[in-house]
């Protein structure tokens, strides 16, 4: 099998990389093959952001920029894209980009090791916000830097730099030139071969055929999980089938009663679609990993992996989402909770792929809350996740969906608790019964994130919080808590 040549645009030039193994990471290619050592490895698992780089693809006539973790991204996955590393922001005359200059002026670097990653996240923000006339608020900066860790500064100067860079003289990317180059690359590309070490089909029929032909190929999407199997579990893959280039699966389609999120839509795009319909999910969405992981990772990948502590499943289960599985044999559709058969096991056949996640549109009067308990507020994995979607009719629970994470071997639907609630008047007494039911429905394990007893207790307490919030109580959730104080003299 042949490794096809990776072609990308960097510093205004076409770069070709031949004979890159399918499981080689972008970071390895940058540091070891291209000698671009400005990009650092901090953790090798997409959690610290030292390896952040920015990629761009054509999107509706202009470029769409995304900060990603190069340490767990496969090099082949950026084929046909434009790529920026920290070195690329320095102009030929040596002058610094505003994202860099602002970091210098704000004293945003101390040891400097996380700095290239921060600079690249700032650059992504610069392209996506500053260059589009947006302002950089503190909230925005915190959101966009959520995937970058710094151990020296305490972040204040970096947040200052984020605000500061917008005030420096504008530096623009020559988008027209890059778009033309990317067009050239796309034209060169031609047909996807039927075999090869890295298969990245562009259409659904191609994908299904390749999946049927190569059931042994490692299926990948954003690689935010499979990347760790390579870097941490030392897995090696001789053949990879990448679903993220399949046009049909990158889209979010809107129907009368549901939206269909393509399995290759990034978590960023998927959550944007979910939040558009249910604005109360914005914080929950932002707390899913860090931005670079959301930019690479896909909703389909999260669902297919089925980690019991993945946060999208409890939400999707509560909302009554279905998954659509496709193969050359045809398609089938099932409720998400029925997709899982055990710890990281599912019903997917060797020739099948997850194609769409269908999420019902909200009905008027939907009471929806998504709760996440983790050690750190941002960019952490849930110890417990609870999502409750409830519809009341005349004060009675007409319909309820409850999804829970961190409480069983798979993402789970709280069927017993739902049964306790359904048809009952929504009163304190009912809420207390639901609290007790939730606590007895699951037997969570103890691990490094939390003890079994804490998980059980909090699961119930979150139902109490849901009750209080349903009664209009405010300032009872730290997620939305704001300190209101008398003006400082």
């Amino acid at each position: 099998m042949e490794a096809k040549t990776i072609r990308l645009v960097r510093r205004g030039e076409l770069v070709s990389l031949a004979n890159v193994p399918p499981d080689r990471t972008l970071l390895e290619v940058l540091r070891e093959d291209l000698g671009a050592t400005g990009t650092k490895e901090g953790c090798g698992e997409g959690d610290c952001g030292a390896c952040t780089v920015v990629v761009a693809e054509p999107h509706e006539g202009s470029l769409r920029y995304q900060a990603i973790n190069s340490c767990i991204r496969l090099a082949h996955s950026v084929d046909g894209m434009a790529l920026w590393t920290v070195e690329d922001l320095v102009a030929d005359d040596g002058s610094l980009h505003p994202a860099q200059e602002a970091m210098v002026q704000a004293h945003g670097s101390q040891c400097g090791f996380c700095t290239p990653g921060f600079v690249m996240s700032l650059f992504g923000m610069y392209q996506n916000h500053v260059c589009k006339g947006g302002t950089i608020t503190r909230e925005l900066a915190q959101e966009e830097l959520s995937g970058n860790l710094c151990r020296c500064t305490g972040y204040r100067p970096i947040l200052d730099a984020a605000a500061q860079m917008a005030k420096l003289p504008r530096v623009a990317v020559d988008e027209a030139a890059i778009l033309a180059q990317l067009d050239q690359l796309a034209a060169k590309r031609g047909q996807v071969p039927a075999s090869g070490t890295y298969l990245d089909p562009r259409s659904l029929p191609e994908l299904l055929q390749l999946r049927a032909l190569h059931p042994g190929a490692q299926l990948v999407a954003g690689c935010t999980d499979v990347g760790l199997w390579i870097t941490k579990l030392h897995q090696q893959y001789r053949q990879v089938l990448d679903v993220t280039r399949v046009e049909e699966l990158r889209r979010v389609e809107h129907y009368d009663n549901h939206i269909a999120i393509g399995a290759a839509a990034s978590l960023t795009d998927a959550f944007e679609a979910l939040v558009a319909q249910r604005p109360q999910l914005k914080t929950f969405a932002n707390r899913f990993a860090g931005l670079p992981v959301r930019n690479s990772g896909t909703l389909g990948g999260n669902v297919a992996n089925g980690s019991p502590i993945g946060d999208s499943m409890p939400l999707l289960i509560a909302l009554g989402a279905h998954v659509v599985l496709l193969s050359v044999r045809g398609h089938r559709e099932l409720p998400l909770e029925a997709f899982y058969t055990g710890y990281r096991k599912n019903v997917l056949a060797p020739d099948e792929v997850v194609a769409w996640i269908k999420v019902p549109r909200p009905q008027p009067g939907e009471l929806l809350r998504a709760y996440k308990i983790s050690k750190r507020y941002d960019d952490d994995i849930s110890a417990v996740c609870l999502v409750v979607a409830m519809h009341l009719r005349d004060g009675v629970v007409a319909q309820v969906g409850i999804g829970a994470g961190g409480v069983a071997a798979t993402p789970a639907r709280a069927l017993q608790t739902e049964a306790v609630l359904r048809g009952q008047p929504w009163t304190l007494e009912t809420a207390q019964k639901a609290t007790a039911a939730l606590r007895s429905e699951f037997q969570p394990i103890s691990d490094m994130r939390a003890s079994s007893s804490y998980r059980s207790e909090v699961l119930g307490n979150l139902m109490q919080r849901f009750w209080l919030e349903s009664q209009g109580h405010e300032q009872i959730n730290l997620e939305s808590f704001r300190l209101v104080e008398a003006a400082t003299p």
């Binding site: 540091r31 210098v104 101390q110 151990r151 030392h234």
Partner: protein, 768 residues
């Protein structure tokens, strides 16, 4: 500073010292051109090593079977204990740590050897395939179990003053309690890395990401059976250190050197992040039991305290760390009658090591906890109890280790912060809020810090530097300190620039290098600038003195009449540029380079009795922190932080501010989200950033105000400054005390037992 007033008149230029100059590497950091060890272009033939880790916490090592690994692609071989040409025991102070485990393994993660291969990933993959035959033995993981079993790496130490038993017995009030405080992973963003290059005639060049190149040199030479002069160690910068690269970097360099020795090729060893967690030591977890007697004002009349430090499997720096904990139990408070018993416990986990504060935080936190508890027991504001116990200025001013506190600014400093942070008004606002808020409770605490500056091992308090002036007038400085992000090189550069009266741009600081300044102490104990800054200043001063004498001879004046400022040199007869003078002087054969040496005065300390003056001076500060907790889940949030901190006269206010903010947030992480979890098998379950959570951008409160105390160091220290690396870390104890304050408001009895870190789970437990 030698810039005279008349030169400043009419000039906008200011001396470098005191200006918020940017970090000397800032532009390289943001451009990605700052070189760390893994970025150095590899020498042809370089191989890569990866460690073979014990998968058992304690056991007999019966055999190592590398066959499966040896068959893998790219693998060159393994390096085990029998391949060590020198002493198989590391050259640590206590000499109790094998380089590679031999007959026994003593923790899960202990390095048994390394696999050497053509690429990093080949080495790492193969290292997992090496089979270890280990007969498991009972292991001790818990520190209290170690106390029970009298399992110690070093003998217990007791410090006693007065009659604490009587003080407690006769006191109107008494409390007893226990506390457990977790450790902390350094999480330097650049993991441990070393690169060993064999040179001709048994000479070695070692690149090491280390806070202590001299110790790496010593360890590598010792392991190779060579003298120190055969080994040279270089470090331009570290991607963070925090104490984690004081001794721990040495292991990596030694392993790389042994592999390079065996295969006669350059070898690089860069630890994978998970391995870094599993192999290297962390901040010592501590356990405490205490009994305290106090009067109606909350003044402590007698205290008996047990501190048990979880040291891990070997001594490493645990002796001095535990000593510093003992020295800092008092924090800012006078303890008239006190007994402190310090256990240095051996457990089957990583060998815990230096970490910013070096035992100081673990000493202080228990005293702050006791005072918080006393406040609640008496129904008094904890701040009033703290004030009642502060050291006096002329009396009640001698520490339990017999050092007189001569530079006490605690009272005015606390008073100023109390006012600026509106402590009393907010206390009332919070009480009103808590009375009506069913779920969210707020808490407030104002805690001080008094931190002793100097290495407690007196002989470490020395430093050397070299200042070279080249023929074109450019200046290169080399000193024994290392740059880990703290801005040491920048401060030294500023000091040298002012000493020579040249702009900072004329001065560069070069990589730390054992062939330039020998026997340098670790860059640690916050003393980097105090020691190396002075040494560099003295070196520059000698060059300046020679130049002044040269000018004086020509202009027939006294050397003191020659002024160096703003790149110009002036005597009574003529003014010339610095470059002109240097060129002239060179051609007249004036020595244009010099060494400099500094040793800290006044300090002395008796290791046996733990008494003396171990510290040259104290750094002070105080923080006022407000938090909120969710009583349904235990989730918590820091809302507001006000800090007033003492850095003396700041050499670089931007850098000092960075140290204060960064130290505080790191301390906040220690006490809130950063939880190390070992299971009962001694397996560290939190071994990557996916499971170990240091603070992120979103954890920093918007209200985060820092003010500097406006007074120079009362001792003669470089530029009138004070050390700043460690003291601000302990300001974060205010976060933890505020969380306990919030928890107390949710409890009917007002009592709080809360272990650290204050994870949501620990906070919820404290409410029961």
């Amino acid at each position: 500073m030698n810039a005279p007033e008349k030169f400043l008149a009419g000039s906008k230029a200011q001396p470098a010292v005191g200006s918020p100059r940017i970090h000397d590497s800032a532009r390289a950091h943001v451009a990605g051109s700052a070189v760390y060890i893994d970025d150095i272009p590899e020498v042809k033939g370089t191989l890569h090593a990866a460690p073979i880790l014990s998968n058992v916490a304690r056991g007999k090592l019966l055999g190592v079977d590398p066959r499966a690994a040896l068959q893998m692609e790219g693998v060159k071989g393994v390096v085990l204990a029998q391949d060590i040409p020198g002493d198989p025991i590391l050259a640590t102070f206590v000499h109790d740590e094998p380089i590679f485990a031999r007959d026994t393994v003593e923790y899960l993660g202990q390095v048994v050897g390394v696999v050497v291969a053509e690429t990093v990933m080949q080495a790492r993959r193969a290292a997992r395939k090496v089979q270890l035959r280990i007969e498991a033995l009972p292991a001790i993981v818990d520190v209290r179990e170690a106390v029970q079993a009298q399992s110690f790496v070093l003998p217990p130490v007791t410090v006693r003053r007065g009659d604490p038993e009587q003080g407690i017995a006769q006191a109107p009030h008494r409390l007893a309690g226990s506390l457990d405080i977790g450790g902390q992973e350094h999480f330097y963003l650049e993991g441990q890395v070393g690169y060993a290059l064999p040179l001709e005639q048994d000479n070695w060049w070692i690149y090491s990401s280390t806070q202590h190149p001299g110790e790496v040199q010593h360890w590598v030479a010792h392991a190779l059976g060579l003298e120190n002069h055969a080994v040279n160690v270089e470090c331009r910068r570290m991607g963070g250190g925090f104490g984690g690269k004081e001794t721990q970097a040495g292991h990596i360099a030694v392993w790389a050197a042994l592999a390079a020795h065996k295969f006669k090729r350059p070898v690089k060893l860069r630890l994978d992040r998970d391995d870094d967690f599993m192999v290297t030591g962390k901040r010592h977890p501590f356990a405490y039991d205490y009994e305290v007697g106090f009067d109606d004002d909350g003044r402590v009349l007698g205290l008996k305290l047990m501190l048990a430090a979880n040291c891990g499997f070997s001594a490493d720096l645990s002796g001095p760390v535990a000593d510093r904990a003992v020295f800092h139990v008092d924090n800012a408070y006078f303890l008239s009658d006190v007994e402190i018993v310090s256990y240095r416990c051996r457990t089957n986990v990583q060998s815990h090591t230096a970490f910013r504060g070096f035992g100081g935080p673990q000493g202080m936190i228990v005293m702050e906890a006791i005072l918080g508890d006393i406040g609640r027991a008496l129904g008094k504001d904890a701040l009033d109890v703290r004030k009642a116990n502060l050291y006096g200025v002329t009396e009640r001013n001698v520490t339990h280790y017999q050092m007189t506190v001569e530079d006490n600014i605690l009272e005015p400093l606390i008073a100023r912060l109390e006012q600026n942070a509106r402590y009393r008004a907010r206390r009332e606002e919070i009480a009103r809020w808590n009375a009506q808020s069913p779920v969210i409770k707020r808490g407030l605490a104002l805690t001080p810090v008094k931190f002793g500056i100097s290495f407690t091992a007196t002989f470490f308090n020395q430093a050397g530097a070299l200042v070279h002036v080249y023929g074109d007038g450019s200046v290169q400085v080399n000193h024994g300190g290392t740059e880990m992000g703290q801005g040491l090189h920048t401060k030294v550069l500023q000091l040298v620039a002012d000493e020579l009266g040249v702009p900072c741009e004329k001065v560069r600081v070069s990589a730390t290098d054992t062939s330039k300044v020998p026997n340098a102490s670790a860059t640690a104990a916050s003393s980097g600038t105090d020691l190396n800054g002075r040494a560099a200043q003295f070196a520059a001063r000698q060059v300046r003195q020679r130049l002044a004498e040269y000018v004086a001879e020509k202009q027939h004046c006294k050397p003191e009449q020659v002024i160096f400022a703003h790149g110009q040199v002036s005597g009574p007869d003529a003014v010339m540029t610095w470059e002109q003078l240097v060129d002239d002087a060179y051609h007249s054969r004036v020595q244009l380079w010099s060494d400099g040496f500094y040793k800290t005065p006044k300090i002395h300390y008796d290791k046996k009795t733990l008494t003396g003056r171990p510290f040259y001076y104290f750094s002070y500060g105080a923080a006022c922190t407000e938090v909120a907790i969710d009583t349904l889940t235990g989730e918590n949030r820091v809302l507001k932080v006000d800090i007033l901190h003492d850095v003396g006269t700041s050499i670089n206010p931007a850098i000092d501010l960075g140290q204060i903010e960064g130290g505080f947030i790191q301390g906040m992480g220690w006490l809130t989200t950063e939880q190390l979890v070992w299971n009962d098998k001694g397996y560290l379950a939190t071994h990557a950033p996916s499971t170990y959570k240091i603070p992120a951008t979103g954890d920093v409160p918007e209200h985060f105000r820092i003010e500097l105390w406006p007074e120079p160091n009362r001792e003669d220290n470089v530029g009138g400054s004070k050390a700043v690396g460690e003291p601000p870390f302990m300001l974060a104890i205010s976060v933890w005390e505020a969380l306990r304050d919030a928890a107390a408001s949710a409890r009917a009895d007002g009592k709080v037992r809360m272990d650290a870190p204050a994870t949501a789970e620990n906070v919820l437990r404290a409410l029961k």
